[in-house]
Amino acid sequence: MIYPRTIAALVVASLAMAACSSDSETSETAETTRSSAAAETSAAATTTEAAAAETTVAGTDATADTEAASATSAAEATAPETDATPAAAEVCGLGTGEPASGDPIKIGAVTTQIPGVDLSAGPAGAKAYFDCVNDNGGINGRPIEFIVENDQLDPGAAAAAGKKLVESDNVVLLAGGISILDCALNGAYYGEQGFNMITGGVGAACFGLPHIAPVNAGPAYSGQISAQYVASQGATGKIVFVAPKVPGAEYFSSAAEAWALANGFEYEAIYPDTPVQDGAAVALDAVTRAGEGGGVIVSGSPQDTATMLQGAAEQGLIDDVYWAAGASADDISLVEALGPEWDGKVAVAAEVADVNGDAPDIALYREVMGEYGGDAALGAFSVFGFLMAEIAVDAMLGIDGDVTKESANAALNEVVDYESDFLCKPFYFGDSDLHLANNSQRNRTPDGDVFAELTGCTPLDPVDDVVKAVYAYEKANGI
């Protein structure tokens, strides 16, 4: 028989252990992240003549930093491809070091955050930058109020979120969100309401409307980059695309499919349930379908991607096919979870430069995330949010007169040739009917505790109609 006092002692001991462990995990993770960022910044300072070390969150010598940026970029294997002018100085907004006050400027964003599908790192990156701007003079003295709504992957909630931002919150600009549903459900509405939105694109609608410009390429086009990569490495026969079942999963596979079929490959997509419930079975299924020497592209959340790749490793399937993973796997915690057996064995499509890079914009990102990002992880999604916020702030700082909905959206529309150390090509909004400015991407692979570059900036082959139209627009406008 068991006695109440024994039970009580057991309960207390176990709960104490649980409490201690979760606390230590949280603080240790945060500390590791920050010390890692600090070490990187320190290393950058050594190799780039103290340029990165001078990169501070508050105002610094912008001229010196810009010069350093050029030096750093020259040393990087993944330097931007164009001759566009250098990015804005590596400070937050005006960089005055003075907190903004007065009537806030409201900026809205929609994200998707449910168990298993969590894109909230995007708005977390945007919020970190907006908070930093608010501590550095705001938008000519006015602070930014950043309002984020969660669509919960529910069409009703997504429509309500968009309507609330526009009609109840009266935001002046839409920027910083990443959502699976927002573009498809609210895109047309935003246009009718006079908004130009800068977003992290997921579904097809984000890339096919004149008033929506994504800073990223989205799962479909990073899938195409993956297909191009496995083919370049010698994959033959069949390419299999694995996309966990979420709304729009067929679209995620579409660009890779178009490219594979146009280049003589057989192609098949499989859609396991998400969260993936047995990574080994899904991986075995994909490899069996691809056949020896084929290519397997894994798309989905970092956790799903990790589960499938871990399953492949458990089954000894790593060397049976050429492996690639979509841009959502560009997450440093994936490297830790995979372990050394995947070093050099899987190519992760990367829509932005490595967050551990030395370039000034990247150092600023790390510093801002360290100070304002809270628990948000460093990775591609928070970079998207950070970039969107930077672009929105720069656009608003260029406005003569009041920042209103009309002036802010007009200013965003006029953004062209916006260069960042994170991007292969400058971002632009402009008057194109559709947007895919991020049409050149890198490939990375796990290497110890970090990612190592596999390929530099690689342009999307013009197979898909959207890519063809974007290239035609860029050619016609000298981009």
Binding site: V11, M17, P115, A281, D285, A306, Q315
Partner: protein, 302 residues
Amino acid sequence: MPTLTEFSSFFVLGLAAGAVYALSGTGLVVLYRTTGVVNFAFGAIGMVSAFVTWSLLQTSWCPNALAYLGAFGVAIAISLIYGMVVAPPFAQRDSVTKSVGTLGFALLLVGIVFVTWDTAKVRKLDLGVEDWKLDIGKIRLNGLNVISIVLAAIVVASVTVLLNRTRLGTAMRAVANDREVAALAGIPVRRIDLVAWLGAGAICGLVGIINAALVNFDVNTLTFALLVPSLAAATIGRLSSLWITMLGGFLIGVMSRVAKSFSGDLQFVSDYSEIAPFALAGAVILWLGRHRTVVLSGRAMR
């Protein structure tokens, strides 16, 4: 049609997954037989213990063995808290009401995990047995697969012996048959209930860490995805027979994984692989209905 090698590879994976379903189903049946509660928080308790274990493994001060014991400690503690605090007021209610109470508890645990841990972070729970591998041609068997299958058999055998060969087991079966009569006979019903919650908690902890290492270290998967096949296995065992529950778990695991190996003209088999638990449980319920057996009575003891 899949080749024999492909079929065998998926079969082995199915056995490992089936072992987890069998273990979970066993925990469900043990608790149901004693308390009349279908524990919908089963996966959630295991999920919390997996997160605690992972956190302990990240620390420098905690030996691995203690981390794994911590998983059991936490799962047992959570289960006992429910058994001591929440379950007693439901004791005289019907089985459905008792069971729905555990669903609310599961949601509470999920909320606590979301607040306490960064659930977007990719995690891997390494039990240290994954590196042991046996390759038979193209079929691979790793340590985790073997341990899952062996543990399922050991747990079912142990619980069966406990229930059928010990005084405690006799008391548990007496409480399951009729609480009031058992109480009148001098059996301490509350303590027997707590023993059942304790045992169920220990199995939750075991399933939690195996599932996190074997399937997917994800809140949703560990909490809810496990429930359907486990409940189906328990239903196949008519919420009373541990051995049939175990067999049901293995059958569901094998069916759902082997179905994935079909492609080409038989692709539809793969597409519908996830319905294996429903198909099997549905078939059993229909079969039992044909013989007019009441499944959820809580009285049928085998």
